[in-house]
Symmetry: C2
Subunit: 129 residues, 2 copies
């Protein structure tokens, strides 16, 4: 049995509320994060939920990126699910941490595949820095 | 701090290869699972990756459902991320287990929100049955 997918479960805390409230800004930043990671965009969809939460999904050739924001909590939930070894999810995460101005980050990394979910790590000092 | 989201990380093993290879079938079943859960569909997108892997995303008012299938391993990765208490994710999972004819299931339930990811449970006897 082999690992097929790598899934980063990311919580971005104390984000800039204005940034994560704006549909176009969130869309631009997630798409840029996808590009930075090296993933191949297949389709994307972003939606503003009144008053100001944003949900966005990018289907990539390597699986998907998603974001859901709760500006009232300065919080964004991001998932980066990729297969193969060509995508650098950590680069995407670093970019999002900076661009959403998150002061704190929590990250859990899971392996996905025929063996079932396995937790690889909960934190990443490079990312938390 | 409160729980905003509930995220089911689901591995479906030993699925019917023909079912999880077919784009239209996977789309129909996931959309039916969303309806069964009580979630509200905002947008959906499904894509066939040659030769026969399917990726699908449904953005719902309560967050998202996703599926990625690897028919060569009889395996499907499903995520059900919901907020609020109106969606019954377990019903959706039970339906998918049956309709994809998964002989085995692994499930991890995470809380998502300003407090960070917390693992609630790894297994559910009702689901595994």
């Amino acid at each position: 049995m082999e690992r097929l997918g790598r899934h980063l479960i990311i919580e971005l805390f104390d984000c800039d509320r204005k940034i994560i409230s704006d549909l176009n800004t969130v869309e631009d930043l997630i798409l840029e994060a996808v590009r930075i990671s090296g993933a191949t965009i297949v389709e994307s969809f972003f939606h503003l939920f009144p008053p100001n939460g944003v949900s966005g999904i990018v289907v990539v050739a390597e699986s998907h990126f998603s974001i859901h924001t709760w500006p009232e909590y300065s919080y964004a939930a991001v998932d980066i699910f990729t297969c193969g070894d060509s995508v650098d999810s950590r680069k995407a995460l670093s970019f999002l941490k900076q661009s959403l101005k998150a002061k704190n980050v929590s990250m859990m990394e899971l392996e996905r595949g025929p063996t079932g979910p396995a937790r690889i790590s909960d934190t990443d000092p490079d990312v938390m820095a």
